[in-house]
């Protein structure tokens, strides 16, 4: 009896790089992540790899972020979990001959999970871009070269897929008993998206920068074979083939500028383009085909394309220094890439406005501290516009707020 061949494919919702929302270090969070032109050292490992080369000494950044997801669906708590995680970054400049080189790494470790794959039934209203957005690890190794007024940097944003070479369960009769044994050979291959940046200081008071990061996603490709050889009962193969795509992180290009209005005040602006239109399907896409003597074939369900649209995100920030104290503020408008939900899907999303502020203290070198140490704090508020989506039949509403807090310290060696 040949009893099952199953094909299954799942695509979990799309999420951007969690650090794009949370910020890498409290300084970035406090300026609405508008730091592409001014980030240096460890912070720049995520923000702009070229800035890593602008570190004068080895740096270590340790930070912790928290996001309180107060999102609602139909005026009730949407159940989006709060996010928290640890940021670790370092930058190591090395002078060889007349070259000022540097290497660095940016890491984000979510508090509970390194990654989380979550999908809900297609028609169920859900915050497609928030459900697990902050629940994935970020690993970004970079290297950079400084040429004085110009610096360039390159690296990669890494994620691990899951692919099986063998994943087998054998069910058979041994003596008068039926037993099963399993064997597997599964790899977690690393996928890399390029991440490059350039920094240029055309004048003493002006800094310009640009970055580009390629598209990234976590793919799962697993083939589970169940082989049954039980004489008189069941004999045949069951093959489960799984293909899934999750944590879609769109291609992203950023242009940024910073103006040092005075020796104490710097104003920054970033504008980012994100290619969300490349997302194939933003919904849980499950297809099942069964050829089973024990049951009638079950037809597959095809999901419509996501049809997300590209978005442009402006961010601005300001930092004012007085002595050891730094005061920061920022704002951003974050449009939604999700199209009107008139069909089978019910993606909740909407344009967000972001306002942030923060403060930092630089502990100067002294008798105990040999190099300056920064301690920074940031608070942020994202407001997700309340929207009512009319469907035929029914309707759903969405909206809410996200409160952010970030604390970090940068230690120089």
């Amino acid at each position: 009896m040949r009893w099952a061949i199953v094909l299954l494919a799942c695509a979990t919702p799309a999420h951007a790089d969690p650090l794009d929302d949370l910020g890498f270090g409290a300084s970035a969070t406090a300026m609405a992540n508008s730091r592409t032109a001014t980030a240096t050292g460890a912070e720049a490992a995520h923000t702009n790899p070229a800035g890593v080369a602008n570190a004068a000494r080895p740096e270590l950044l340790l930070g912790w972020q928290f996001a309180n997801e107060r999102l609602e669906l139909d005026d009730h708590d949407a159940g989006v979990r709060n996010a928290h995680g640890t940021s670790i970054g370092f930058a190591i400049p090395v002078d060889i001959a007349n070259l000022h080189l540097a290497t660095g790494v940016a890491l984000y470790l979510p508090g509970k999970f390194l990654s989380r794959l979550e999908q809900k039934p297609v028609g169920e209203p859900q915050f497609v871009r928030f459900e697990s957005a902050a629940q994935r690890v970020v690993v970004e190794p970079v290297a950079a070269l400084s040429l004085g007024r110009v610096a360039i940097g390159a690296g990669a944003s890494l994620i691990a897929d899951a692919r099986s070479k063998e994943l087998a369960v054998d069910v058979g009769a041994v003596g008068d008993e039926t037993q099963s044994v399993a064997s597997l050979d599964v790899g977690l291959p690393v996928r890399a998206a390029p991440f490059v940046g350039v920094w240029y200081r055309p004048a003493r008071a002006v800094e310009l920068a640009a970055t580009f990061r390629g598209e990234l996603a976590l793919d799962v490709a697993l083939d589970l074979r169940t082989n049954a050889r039980v004489p008189g009962a069941v004999t045949g193969d069951a093959i489960v083939s799984l293909r899934s795509v999750s944590y879609f992180t769109p291609m992203r290009a950023v242009a940024a500028a910073a103006v040092h209005a005075t020796d104490d005040l710097v104003l920054t602006a970033d504008i980012a383009w994100e290619r969300w239109s490349a997302l194939g399907s933003g919904v849980p896409d499950v297809r099942v085909l069964i050829a089973l003597d024990l049951a009638p074939p079950l037809a597959s369900t095809m999901q419509p394309p996501a049809s997300f649209k590209d978005i442009v995100t402006p961010r601005v920030g300001a930092e004012w220094k007085t002595g050891a104290l730094r005061l920061r503020a920022g704002a951003a408008y974050l449009p939604s890439p999700v199209p009107p939900q008139t069909g089978i899907t019910s993606f909740a999303d909407g344009a967000r406005t972001l306002a942030t502020l923060g403060a930092g203290w630089r502990f100067p070198p002294g008798r105990v501290i040999m190099q300056p140490i920064d301690l920074d704090l940031a608070l942020g508020w994202q407001h997700l516009k309340h929207e009512v989506v009319q469907k035929d039949p029914g309707a759903f509403s969405s909206g809410g707020d996200i409160l952010q807090a970030s604390l970090s310290s940068t230690v120089r060696f």
Partner: protein
């Protein structure tokens, strides 16, 4: 709908049975690998993150270390060669003193050690119970290793340090039901969770020439359980999976180092509690249509605690430096396996040689290491029907309806193992 349960099951299994780490097998940096992985009391650079984290603060300054490692297996399974799963790796180590002055000057250091693979974060190979398999090597090279750590000098002579061995586990649930339209409503919630275990060490400097060190490495494993209850057109397909992967036993190593202007000598003794290990197998218990409940208990293998002695010698100073070492490690796999399992192992003799060149802030080191696994022969016994059947101690006829004894176990009637594993690498270090 049961098929989505298989999705969860597949991922759970996939991430469940990675074994220890490649640093344990082949060392961290060419300096240590070239001394047969010895150096509990001698490691004073970024390699101390594994050998004894207290060593992070043993020397001033800091360094960035970049290295590569490759290995080749000449281990045999009867007449065949057992290859290594991922024989090439890259190593990165960073160590720096926290820039404090006064009474805290040069007393606190931090570091990060990484072993990375060219294309993989991890690869997991969990064999069927009758597969011939070297569990000591197996997929031990197929895993990245992340070791952040710190150390503090409590007194001029006494230091303590700790590092974390960080990896990921996987778990969660999947629910899928067929809807009225004949499609599927799937609900998935799977998580990769962080797993971190302790490596703790102490270092005591008896005199400028003698140092003592000790390190404890906490048992590391990822217990996984997945239970799936599914229904396909009224037929139940239930699967229960249990596994304990990424196993590293409790380890305790103690060492002594002797230092002169011309050389550094080290001697380590170690103990690893392998007897806690339940084995590399995946246990599956399932409920299938028509068949009903299907047990899938794996054989219980009585792993044995291992003992290790390692010695290393390294010339000191700038310019050309030489080093070498020898190690001996007993086998964790029991010698007698007369039943289903074919786990291969043997006493390991480790011989290593290395050299390097030190110039100002830069040093380059290279090494070669030979691990000689002693020859063993595993012979099978047939179940005579007396007492309760134990799959570890004997094999039984697989089809009593046929004449003669029907046995498909690849180790029947016997299997011979042993051989060599050669590894080598190069490390570049820059003082910070």
């Amino acid at each position: 709908m049961g098929v989505c349960r298989y999705f969860a099951l597949a991922i759970l299994v996939a991430t469940a049975t990675a074994h220890a780490n490649p640093i344990e097998v082949f060392g961290l940096t060419s300096r240590r690998a070239g001394q047969a992985n010895s150096g509990v009391a001698a490691a004073d650079d970024a390699s101390a993150l594994y050998y004894d984290p207290a060593g992070l603060v043993a020397r001033g300054g800091g360094e960035l270390v970049l290295g590569t490692l490759a290995a080749y297996s000449h281990l045999s399974i009867n007449a065949s060669r057992a290859s290594l799963s991922d024989p090439i790796g890259f190593q990165i180590g960073v160590r720096a003193h926290v820039p404090l002055g006064g009474a805290l000057a040069d007393r606190i250091a931090v570091g990060l050690g990484l072993h990375l693979l060219p294309t993989l974060a991890a690869r997991v190979i969990a064999p069927a119970p009758d597969a011939a398999f070297y569990p000591y090597y197996g997929d031990r090279l197929s895993r990245i290793v992340v070791l952040p750590g710190a150390a503090a000098r409590i007194t001029d002579a006494f230091s303590v340090g700790a590092a974390l061995n960080v990896l990921a586990g996987f778990g969660g649930t999947i629910t899928a039901t067929d809807d009225a339209m004949g499609g599927i409503d799937a609900r998935v919630d799977e998580q990769q969770s962080t797993v971190a275990r302790l490596i703790a060490g102490i270092r005591y400097t008896l005199s400028p020439s003698f140092s003592l060190g000790a390190v404890y490495r906490q048992r590391f494993e990822i217990p996984v359980q997945a239970t799936a209850h599914t229904m396909v057109a009224g037929e139940a397909i239930d699967v229960d999976v249990r596994a304990a992967g990424s196993f590293t036993p409790h380890q305790f190593f103690a060492g002594v180092a002797y230092t002169t202007d011309a050389l550094v000598a080290s001697l380590d003794l170690g103990y690893a509690r392998w007897s806690d290990y339940a084995g590399p197998y995946v246990t599956v218990v399932s409920q299938l249509p028509v068949v009903g409940a299907v047990p899938g208990e794996s054989p219980l293998v009585p792993f044995e605690d291992t003992f290790t002695v390692r010695a290393g010698l390294e010339s000191a100073g700038d310019g050309l430096v030489f080093r070498g070492g020898y190690g001996l490690e007993t086998a964790a796999v029991p010698r007698s396996q007369s039943g289903v399992t074919n786990l291969l192992d043997g006493t390991k003799h480790i011989a290593a040689f290395g050299m390097g060149y030190v110039w100002k802030r830069i040093r380059v080191d290279a090494h070669l290491q030979l691990q000689l696994v002693s020859t063993r022969k595993v012979s099978k016994e047939l179940y005579d029907g007396t007492g309760e059947y134990d799959p570890f101690t004997s094999l039984r006829d697989e089809d009593a309806n046929l004449d003669g004894t029907q046995i498909s176990n690849p180790g029947y009637p016997s299997m011979k193992s042993g051989g060599e594993v050669v590894s080598g690498g190069v490390t570049l270090g820059v003082s910070l």
